[in-house]
Symmetry: C2
Subunit: 209 residues, 2 copies
């Protein structure tokens, strides 16, 4: 009775090890694809280059991923949802509309700064995404915009903000906050949190009565 | 003496007519390319589609343009310089730093709004531009940024603005102003000048002491 049990255990461990190695490979493939898509653009990048970057031959790459399009879709999987989760958490903290807007803007800017390459590739390759994936990201983006707008409208009602067009104010703030993906260089003069804090204060300042 | 002169005159007119027709064709080709690049992306677009859109066969298209890359470069030719000229003019008007920033932001936003498709294609296809063309556009963009920063620094000195980081303030404003290319829909709720005026006022408000 002992040997088969040990054998089964060893078998499980082997499957687990293989599973772990496959997961690591997939992570490496996504990271390489993101880098190459960012540098050359999605259309100009080839599966051969991605395979080379992770030390696989092209045939083996297709064991992990069925197409370049699937790779593009999976680059964004979960990222926008994670950032939205952080914005949800920021928005649900108690406090004045000013404090809530501050927290929402801060969470959003940090979300962009922590996903610089994927934000860049998404904004550039949106038109290359299949419809279902595009709609998913757009729904998530809309939910983020709603958080901005809700905090602004609440602040208008309470008199914290002297805004007259909450939709336009939302777009103005989202522009400032999303644009960081074009100029922020990690390791430069400002840390991620320094930029996020500054932009959160700036947002509140822009809306003062 | 009369006939040869008339003949030469008629010849000139013919050349002029041909020149005009060629110019119109080139304009139509650029407009079609811009539309198709915007919709499908530069890499996915084919010269055949562009030829079809202007009712030429592909061979004739190559009479006007030597390659898809040349077409991409020529899409941006002169546009950024024209907007820079308008910003130069806005900046050189006398007035307080607040008035100057207002005028610079307004001219920049109008420049983006009047070139929606080419701003979109440029930001997406920057990496596809040949080095010389890219450097040219970047120099022009840098000159625009300098106008923003100069007005902000002047306002800090005069006490008009309560800013502490003029570089970061410039990037925040440029984000707001450039991002309009992603959400503005011509013929919608707001005219171009309504958005430009609102964003100019918003910029000044953000920098109030």
């Amino acid at each position: 009775m002992v040997r088969p049990a040990v054998g089964a255990g060893a078998g499980h461990r082997l499957v687990r090890r293989r599973g772990t190695r496959a997961k690591e490979r997939e992570t490496a493939i996504r990271a390489a694809a993101l880098r190459i898509f960012r540098r050359k653009g999605y259309h100009a990048a080839s599966m051969q280059e991605i395979a080379d970057a992770v030390g696989l031959n092209k045939g083996s790459l297709y064991y992990y991923i069925s197409s370049k399009e699937e790779l593009l879709v999976r680059l964004f999987e979960g990222r926008a949802e994670q950032v939205l989760g952080e914005i949800d958490a920021a928005a649900s903290r108690s406090g004045s509309p000013q404090q809530r807007l501050h927290a929402v803007v801060r969470a959003y800017v940090l979300g962009v700064l922590r996903n610089l390459d994927s934000v860049h590739v998404y904004l550039r390759e949106e038109h290359s995404l299949p419809r279902a994936a595009l709609e998913q990201v757009r729904r998530t983006n809309q939910a983020m915009r709603d958080h901005f707008e809700r905090a602004i409208v609440d602040g208008m009602r309470s008199g914290d903000f002297g805004e007259s067009d909450p939709k336009l104010a939302t777009l103005a703030l989202l522009g400032t906050c999303t644009w960081v993906h074009r100029w922020y260089r990690p390791g430069g003069r400002l840390t991620e949190t320094a930029v996020a804090d500054d932009f959160a204060e700036r947002a509140v300042r822009m809306l003062r009565p």
